[in-house]
Symmetry: C2
Subunit: 155 residues, 2 copies
């Protein structure tokens, strides 16, 4: 994937977090993801197809997921239940949707599928070894979450 393809996802993440939750995450690192880094405790995944094909993942430790989702839905959440799963799915949907709009303005069109949400401490989300992935780590209140993007232009 091209490095410039990560920026619309970063921009969209900032926008969704600020607009929907009033949270301003700070961007800590942007790097090529190694296959064996574990994900956090709950991850939303959405597939992308069209002129560009791939996937985008948001992954939270449980405590940060609960904090973010509580602000997103306006209700205090203390455990990972269906509401939290739905909210994490909706968050990755909104982030992918925001990025899609930026890409469309640049002339690169794709469609987004329906999210899956993975739960379970220690789960890892991998791609085929020929599919590079860029991981962006964000910080909120001294906790971290990740946005992971794999995207290649269809030729």
């Amino acid at each position: 994937m091209k490095a410039e393809h990560i920026n619309p996802f970063i921009e969209s993440t900032f926008s969704v977090f600020e607009t929907m939750m009033g949270i301003k995450p700070s961007k800590k690192t942007v790097e090529l993801k190694k296959g064996d880094n574990p994900s956090y405790d709950i991850s939303g995944i959405i597939g992308l197809t069209g002129q560009a094909i791939g996937s985008v993942v948001i992954s939270f430790p449980e405590s940060l997921a609960l904090k973010v989702v509580s602000k997103f839905i306006g209700e205090e959440k203390s455990e990972i239940d269906d509401d939290v799963v739905d909210a994490v799915g909706e968050l990755i949907n909104m982030i992918a949707g925001g990025a899609k709009k930026i890409f469309t303005d640049k002339g690169l069109k794709f469609k987004i599928s329906i999210p899956n949400v993975v739960t379970g401490k220690g789960h890892k989300i991998k791609r085929p070894s020929n599919v590079p992935c860029i991981a962006v780590i964000f910080e909120v209140d001294k906790e971290f979450f990740a946005i992971e993007v794999s995207l290649k232009e269809n030729n």
Copy 2:
């Protein structure tokens, strides 16, 4: 999703297993998946978009994944490594691709994204609560694997 939408995925699963591995799984159950059923140890996920939108998942216990992948790649595998991750991604890609061909012949077109592969004992793969999912359990040599499909026609 419509119940009839599961059949192309079942047909494609049989075809891929028999053609690529010489394995004839038997179909045990087809049912609406409840959100809290755990997945097995390694799962391939692929997103679908177009006239129909959704996702398809294959999930194996570790021992069966190793047995199936060993036949798929013609090399004995004793642990979940990058080769096994790649093979599980390729298997769900082929199953989705086979189903896509059957749907295209029926006049329903969609595109498939790039697979993600989730590893970790006890991980769960969920959908938003308004997205129904049909799970098909197959048996191979007294072990089980699952194909889970969420698909809705775009209106």
